[in-house]
Symmetry: C2
Subunit: 253 residues, 2 copies
Amino acid sequence: MTEADFLSGYDASAYEHPSVTVDLVLLGIREGRPAVLLQPREEEPFPGRWALPGGFVGIAESLDDAAQRVLHDKARLDDAHLEQLYTFGAVDRDPRTRVITVAWLALLDERAFAAALVANPALRPVAIQADWTGETGGPITALGPGGAAIDLAFDHGQILAMALLRLRGKIDYSDVGFALLPDLFTLRQLQDVHEAIGGTAFNKPAFRRRMLDRGWLAPTGLREQGTSFRPAELYRFQRAGRPNTRSLHPLIG
Amino acid sequence: MTEADFLSGYDASAYEHPSVTVDLVLLGIREGRPAVLLQPREEEPFPGRWALPGGFVGIAESLDDAAQRVLHDKARLDDAHLEQLYTFGAVDRDPRTRVITVAWLALLDERAFAAALVANPALRPVAIQADWTGETGGPITALGPGGAAIDLAFDHGQILAMALLRLRGKIDYSDVGFALLPDLFTLRQLQDVHEAIGGTAFNKPAFRRRMLDRGWLAPTGLREQGTSFRPAELYRFQRAGRPNTRSLHPLIG
DNA sequence: TTGACATATATCCGTATCGCACATAAGTAA
DNA sequence: TTACTTATGTGCGATACGGATATATGTCAA
């Protein structure tokens, strides 16, 4: 942007600037389905509908810091996988005033998901059901704790749809899936996560081979506990030494 | 966001809000390499460095509309493929004041690229060279019209790196590549685009087969003109009837 | 102690895909 | 007519993958 452009905009700084917020899609797997943490609204606008946790971006705070802060304040978490999703800026998305929101995707394993529920009683688990297959994209349905469909506030339905689409798009070639698993996990658990996100069933031997060939799985020699059948081996995620790395990029690195 | 949250932020609306801009990566292929349209800066900050064309987002203007408006005002284009890239919000990315920018990727075919150069003499073509291979991501080098490396203003180097990474990531499974080609094109031209974006060479028969099998190419029966050897057939892009559609998603649709 | 049972783990095979080498086709130009 | 260049088509071997099947290993009950 040239200085002239800036000044013409800067004159406009006497005019109104939009508010900027971050909204977080806190996503985990519950009972074999993707689930997010939402808070039911009581006040206008959208009373009775459910909303993503979010907050304003401070004037001296980066977007990344704002997302991290909201993650801490709303869910008491500090080390979840956090990636920017998309920025939503329709003029009337908030009827009160102009608000542009930067949506973030936070991936929680089962323990973190449960911990967030405890830490903030305002949050409720909501199962997400994709009304489409593959990676075509489309609307989603949100199912509240009772299993009934709930209505979402603002454009948060779009945001959730985008979150699921993003995740589906990258789970099978990146290592984001491991962010949804605890430190130690079995191949079956890994497959469950992939099936929950993708909305499809996989062939077990093929899935197993594919994952092992990626070089991301370090066998621990340990076995799962408390099964009434043969216990599976526990694996740990290790970033690939080299092979098949298509690298996730926290930004561009 | 709850009403309480909003009000606490709303009180803060007496405080300063950030400025919000859109910046456009106008990208095409020139001489077998990805190229973008940049404007050299003369004033502070960053005099002598080159910047992406951009503009402020109006208080009553959606992000999409702002991007479209800047595309029209800066390049006199109205129908380029335009997709949101990423939002950059480091606190000090603009030394003058707090500016959050939503970066957009606009794909131009050769004719549109040339037309934009004519329509706005402030824009100059800059070749982009990736200092990395595959989809690992990393910094890029920008080469000015003379072939010498130029310095970029603000965080625009990061933005360009992200644009190229995004394009590399989706060119081989989506149909974005066609946005960089004219209405009629040969298979060789299509391959050139893919090689320029991917930074790799492809096997010709394999590439040809892969593309034809996608069902995206409609043969026209026409042939290219003015070659001193066998002229290639001209194809037209047609959205897939069904097979292999991994669908790009302007948003989620 | 033994056998039924459920799941994990390993092996095999047919098929689709892809890279690659090679053969053939179709233009221009001398 | 021939040389030349690029387009276009074909066949082959390596590889990845889905699916079926076989084997291993734990728990539990009789």
